[in-house]
């Protein structure tokens, strides 16, 4: 599969909106040796993003000078943003200790999301639920480990399941809700928020782009040209909007990760 398969999706005479097939990427080299079949477009982009984050942090913070120059300026602004908007408000005094994790999480996810609007690549990797779920499971395991380490095995589950100040009989009814909400639905909603936003955004962009291509290039008619122009303009507007949403979702994911880490470090009151 290659990039134009999206644009050629409506092979008949009628326009067909792009569907789920735009997320299915086979091996990049289907004719290559079978040990190379793991290399698909998403895995390639993930590797690229990892390298990008490493390069960015390297350029920004290796050999940092007192008077910042070049990339170090950007890196310091980014560091201050994550520290003052995520780490310190959510984690308080522990915030600075968790900065390496939060910084790299934020930028890894941000780059992975922004790949959705980078020409040629055009795939937000997090629109495959496997990737957000792995991030969410990492945070979840860390939360469980910290909680059991800091509050004790019994204490952690007691703090989680039994909020103080309720009549005794209600605990029997409400404890299952708390347990399910904190242990199962937390990582689920954590990852689905990111996944659903990227998925819908990519579908939206692909839809408007294919409308523009279909009505302006493939089947250019007098009546259809208006629709095509609208699709073209919407593609541009939506690309800007997606840039914003992608940054916002990376921010929210990091914010929630910090919040879950905090709930492991200290019992909430």
């Amino acid at each position: 599969m290659s990039a134009p398969h999206l644009l050629a999706s409506g092979s008949g005479d009628e326009f067909e909106a792009p569907g789920l097939e735009i997320f299915h990427w086979g091996p990049l080299f289907p004719d290559g040796p079978s040990w190379l079949h793991w290399l698909t477009k998403p895995t390639l982009i993930v590797g690229l993003c990892a390298i990008l984050v490493v390069l960015f942090a390297w350029r920004a913070f290796a050999g940092a000078k007192l008077v910042p120059r070049g990339v170090q300026n950007v890196g310091e602004v980014a560091y201050l943003f994550v520290r003052d908007q995520v780490a310190r408000p959510m984690l308080g005094k522990d915030g600075d200790r968790w900065m390496p994790f939060l910084f790299s999480t934020f930028f890894f996810i941000l780059f992975m999301n922004w790949m959705g609007v980078v020409p040629v690549l055009y795939l937000p990797v997090n629109s495959h639920i496997a990737f957000p779920i792995v991030f969410a499971i990492c945070v979840y395991l860390m939360m469980l480990f910290l909680g059991i380490k800091n509050q004790g095995l019994v204490g952690y589950f007691k703090n989680m399941m039994f909020p103080p100040g309720l009549p005794k009989a209600l605990y029997v009814i409400l404890a299952p809700i708390e347990l399910l909400s904190n242990l199962i639905l937390r990582p689920f909603t954590h990852s689905v928020r990111l996944f659903a936003n990227m998925f819908a955004g990519h579908l939206l962009l692909a839809f408007f782009a294919s409308v523009a291509y279909w009505f302006l290039v493939e089947k250019l008619t007098v009546l259809g040209a208006g629709v095509g122009v609208v699709g073209f303009l919407m593609t541009i507007v939506m690309t800007g909007f997606e840039l914003f949403i992608q940054a916002l979702q990376a921010f929210i994911f990091t914010l929630l990760a910090a919040s879950y880490i905090q709930s492991g470090l200290h019992a909430d009151h």
Binding site: R88, L174, I177, S181, L185, S259, D268
Partner: protein, 91 residues
């Protein structure tokens, strides 16, 4: 009331310290609000899942069909009660 002078001179808080604790208080309130706002959907979903699931199992056992919606509504009400109890108190 007994010794008013004592409370005025006894512990004058260090301005630096009081500023820090003020910032901590604001931070912890903000944290509570953010945690609450993000966890409300998962509370409601889990309430509906637990009691809706119970209703579904009872439906299959008893051969009825009304218990699933009833269970979902009951779970919704209980989850809302839990949310109100947890986050609705005046701190």
């Amino acid at each position: 009331m007994v010794r008013p002078a004592m409370s005025e001179e006894g512990h004058r808080p260090d301005p630096q310290e009081s500023e820090d604790s003020e910032q901590d208080r604001i931070d912890s309130e903000h944290r509570g609000f953010a945690n609450a706002a993000w966890s409300i959907p998962s509370y409601i979903l889990s309430g509906m899942a637990v009691y809706g699931g119970l209703g579904w199992l009872l439906d299959r056992w008893l051969g009825t069909s009304a218990l699933l919606p009833i269970g979902i509504l009951v779970g919704l009400a209980l989850a809302l009660y839990l949310v109100f109890h947890r986050y609705g108190r005046t701190s």
